[in-house]
Amino acid sequence: MTVALEANGLGKRYGRRWALRDCSLSIPQGRVVGLVGPNGAGKTTLLHLAVGLQTPTAGTVSLLGDRPGSGPAALARFGFLAQDAPTYSRLKVREHLTMGAYLNPAWDTAFASARTEELRLDPGQRAGTLSGGQRAQLALTLAVAKRPELLLLDEPVASLDPLARREFLQTLMEVVASRSISVVLSSHLIADLERVCDYLVVLVAGTVAVAGDVDSLLASHHRLVGRRRDPLTLPSDQSVIEASHVDKQTTLMVRTDAPILDPGWTVTPVTLEDLVLAYMRRARDGAVELSTGLAAVQ
């Protein structure tokens, strides 16, 4: 299995602030990857480093095995839809397609024109007068008509209304399915990603909080509710992601690959949103301080 995106100790510093720090991950090809994290987590920085718009301060990154910015061949292999879907406001829709044809040797003219027709984009309209949803669709068309192996999208639906958001993601999934493209899609809203992604990377404060296949993440995380107890007493193969205690009850989110046998717990599955939020809180507040957390409430 080839790797779509690989980072090793990747870091990027702006002045004194690290936007991304010691980030290591390996995303397989053939997946739809959700890159999720709160605003300012480093999602844009990671994507910009991956496509060569920026250069790392530390570590290395490779995209489809190529060093970013290593030449036109490497550039031709991915499509990138930057945040807010930049287009040239004074150029017409038609001229954007012309641009794509001029600048990309593998340009798919038939796809681009069929796509704009389907989206009912007026070829003579200037991109600056398109609605946000139309602009995002135009930018997606440009990125896909490059015939990329990998499509990277930075918050593609953040600025869209709910209807446009749904339409955009639907288009995206159609295209991805019919052309077998790998996708990396960033968002600060898990709801956007839940429907489309089969692989998840949670980025918090510049580092990877958790990464993995969505189904196996869901299968290995459980919510345990039971009588109040110290999470330190759990079996060693269960790691606590989050713990909360009220009066006589303890609620935990644990990660384990083994079945949970303790009859004292009521075990329920977690949703993707619960899972992501738990990791985000953990990364924000630091790892669960188990016994002291319990001591404080006693």
Binding site: H48, V51, G52, L53, Q54, T55, G69, G71, P72, L75, A76, F78, G79, F80, A82, Q83, D84, P86, T87, Y88, S89, R90, L91, E95, T98, M99, G100, Y102, L103, N104, P105, A106, A139, L142, K146
Partner: protein, 344 residues
């Protein structure tokens, strides 16, 4: 990439070309008119040619003012409106993220853009300066010292325009915001123009020297705190560039100000009268006394004139253009370095 660079710069190029065409049409119509006037007044004159010449030169002042302004300002405008926004617009609207993720490397993208828009700049500036030089041809022959209009004729403005454009893109790459880049481009361009004019151009070729009598050319006196300064001008050959003119004694030495002043005080006391209190300019001396003093001075001193002969005009034009094209290339290399090496 060339086709895309043209697609992006097409509108601004065509609009500028249309404006310049309007100017060229105006210049052609008035130019033909003045050409006819020249031929009827000066072309066939047998006697009284001075009168005919001054009659001819009394025409066309409005067009001259306009063309002088255009020739002076337009090269800077290429820097401000073409150069500065070339990259800042991409940064401000975020479209650099679109442009740099197509299947064209950033360096090729930049070089092509610079080449396409730079060529358009050179072509349009060339058309402009050609028009202006053509319009002025008869006025220049009759009136001006060619060095006096050096910056507004022939090929020098092409160099200025190309430099302004390249400087604008470099500043844009560094500053990344349009308005500050425009302002900085204007400041940088004016500075470069003035610097070359004052500190570089006079030293490009060693001037020729010529000794002449003090009775040739213009002369004046300036009195401050009782010291009399002798001012001389216009003793260089016609149509040449007078770099300096200094008094010299018969033995070839340059006299000190005090020596000259003492001489004037001694031999022409009528001249050395300081202005009445409260006045900056003294009473004009009696013409005969002035002439007497001039002849008196001419006995003791002569003039040494340093000048660039008329024949070097084109050498200077090429050097000036070359310097600014070289500066433009330097700015382009700097811009390339900033865009390709510096982190976006």
């Amino acid at each position: 990439m060339i086709r895309f660079a043209w697609l992006q710069s097409r509108t601004q190029t065509l609009v500028t070309a249309a404006l310049l065409t309007a100017l060229a049409v105006t210049a052609t119509i008035t130019g033909v008119h003045f050409s006819n006037l020249y031929h009827s007044l000066v072309g066939h004159c047998q006697t009284g040619c001075d009168l005919a010449t001054s009659d001819f030169l009394s025409h066309g002042h409005f067009m001259q003012r306009m063309l002088d302004l255009v020739a002076q300002v337009v090269p800077a405008l290429f820097g401000i409106f073409w150069g500065a926004p070339l990259l800042t617009r991409e940064f401000e609207t975020g479209t650099y993220r679109l442009a740099w993720t197509q299947s064209v490397t950033r360096s090729r993208w930049l070089v092509t853009k610079l080449a396409v828009v730079g060529t358009a700049t050179a072509v349009l500036a060339g058309a402009l300066t050609l028009t202006i030089t053509w319009w002025y041809r008869q006025f220049d022959v009759l009136d001006s010292n060619q060095y006096a209009v050096f910056e507004r004729r022939d090929i020098a403005p092409i160099g200025y325009a190309v430099f302004a454009f390249a400087l604008g893109t470099l500043v844009g790459a560094l500053v990344r915001r349009t308005l500050p880049a425009m302002a900085a481009t204007l400041v940088g361009f004016v500075f470069a123009r003035v610097a070359v004019q004052l500190w570089v151009r006079p030293h490009l070729i060693a001037p020729l020297h010529k000794a002449t009598s003090l009775l040739v050319g213009g002369m004046g006196f300036e009195i401050s705190d009782g010291t009399v300064h002798v001012i001389t001008k216009g003793a260089a050959p016609a149509n040449s560039w007078e770099v300096s003119s200094n008094l010299a004694t018969s033995s070839g030495l340059t006299p000190t100000t005090a020596q000259v002043s003492a001489y004037v005080h001694q031999y022409c006391p009528a001249i050395a009268v300081p202005p009445a209190a409260g006045q900056s300019v003294g009473k004009a001396p009696d013409p005969s006394a002035f002439q007497a003093c001039q002849s008196q001075l001419a006995r003791a001193f002569h003039l040494v004139v340093s000048y660039q002969p008329a024949s070097r005009y084109w050498t200077f034009q090429w050097l000036e253009t070359g310097i600014f094209v070289a500066l433009a290339l330097l700015a382009a290399v700097g811009c390339y370095w900033v865009v390709t090496r510096r982190t976006a």
